[in-house]
Symmetry: C2
Subunit: 173 residues, 2 copies
């Protein structure tokens, strides 16, 4: 959608755990409020059906995404972060794969034609370490969930606000 | 939207307080999670701007809506509940009026050509008392917030799921 609209997206990985913790939440709100959580899963299933997106509810939720997010930091530098993020979400939410495991992520990097060993080394170095600062920046900018879209000073939350974020970007250049 | 689509809406007032309490929440989530709450207000302002709907953030939030909901129960019997609900929401969210006050609600009923004294008497009788059962039914049906749209066994939550609810009703007659 952004590409079609001519809007540039600057992907910024962050960890949800600290974002939730900053609000006093020790787990995903889906788990803390199970009545609402059940409806969120059903809502997601209906949306995926409407949009023809495969969905399989993960056995583990939320998955530990520290390693995936560190690898994504490297992808941000090199320009493959969008495809990588989509592949990780597909593994987690369509194929019920354990995205906390190195093997899962190695497979994704390999399928993208990347060198897993080199990317892992950078993810475990300063490039991956930037994730901590980026998470703190997200909290400072008022982020409370994912996905979030920041357009200047405006923060949009949720897949269902993507159109609003793009409209805002187009009308406030 | 429902009228244009040929979908019948059966309005069912309920109280949010007991719905939140059933989830262990002693206040509106907007107030319990102020970081998220601030973004919800901003989101609402942006949506109202997009759709040309007046919005003025209420001085008291959430307002005590017991009396308004009891009056709405009478409107459900008589068929003026939709217009009444719109008028109460406009008073609360566009004109920052205190909708917990009889005077505000008398004014609304009068402007609708109704007899406030008669409606108040019925609201304080068995018709208004049905609100309690309806709130319990809502909780039993998995309602966790408002607005909620129930279509058969499917529960849709939020103004931003109105289209989905109508689509579901149309494709599952």
């Amino acid at each position: 959608m952004a590409k079609v609209s001519g809007v540039t997206v600057n992907w910024k990985p962050f960890l949800l755990g600290p974002v939730f913790a900053a609000q006093g939440l020790a787990d995903s709100p889906f788990n803390i409020y199970p009545i609402k959580g059940a409806n969120m899963w059903r809502d997601m299933a209906r949306i995926c059906e409407r949009e023809n997106i495969p969905l399989q509810r993960p056995g583990i939720f939320p998955a530990n995404s520290v390693l995936a997010a560190k690898l994504a930091m490297v992808g941000g530098v090199d320009g493959w972060i969008a495809g990588f993020s989509r592949a990780v979400y597909t593994a987690n939410f369509a194929h019920n794969q354990d995205i906390s495991k190195s093997e899962t992520l190695i497979e994704i990097l390999t399928s993208m034609g990347l060198n897993p060993q080199e990317v892992f080394e950078r993810a475990n170095g300063p490039e991956g370490a930037g994730l901590r600062q980026q998470t703190e920046d997200a909290i400072k900018n008022g982020v409370f969930g994912a996905p979030s879209f920041q357009v200047g000073a405006e923060l949009f939350w949720g897949n269902d606000r993507l159109e609003h974020a793009i409209d805002w970007a187009l009308s406030h250049r």
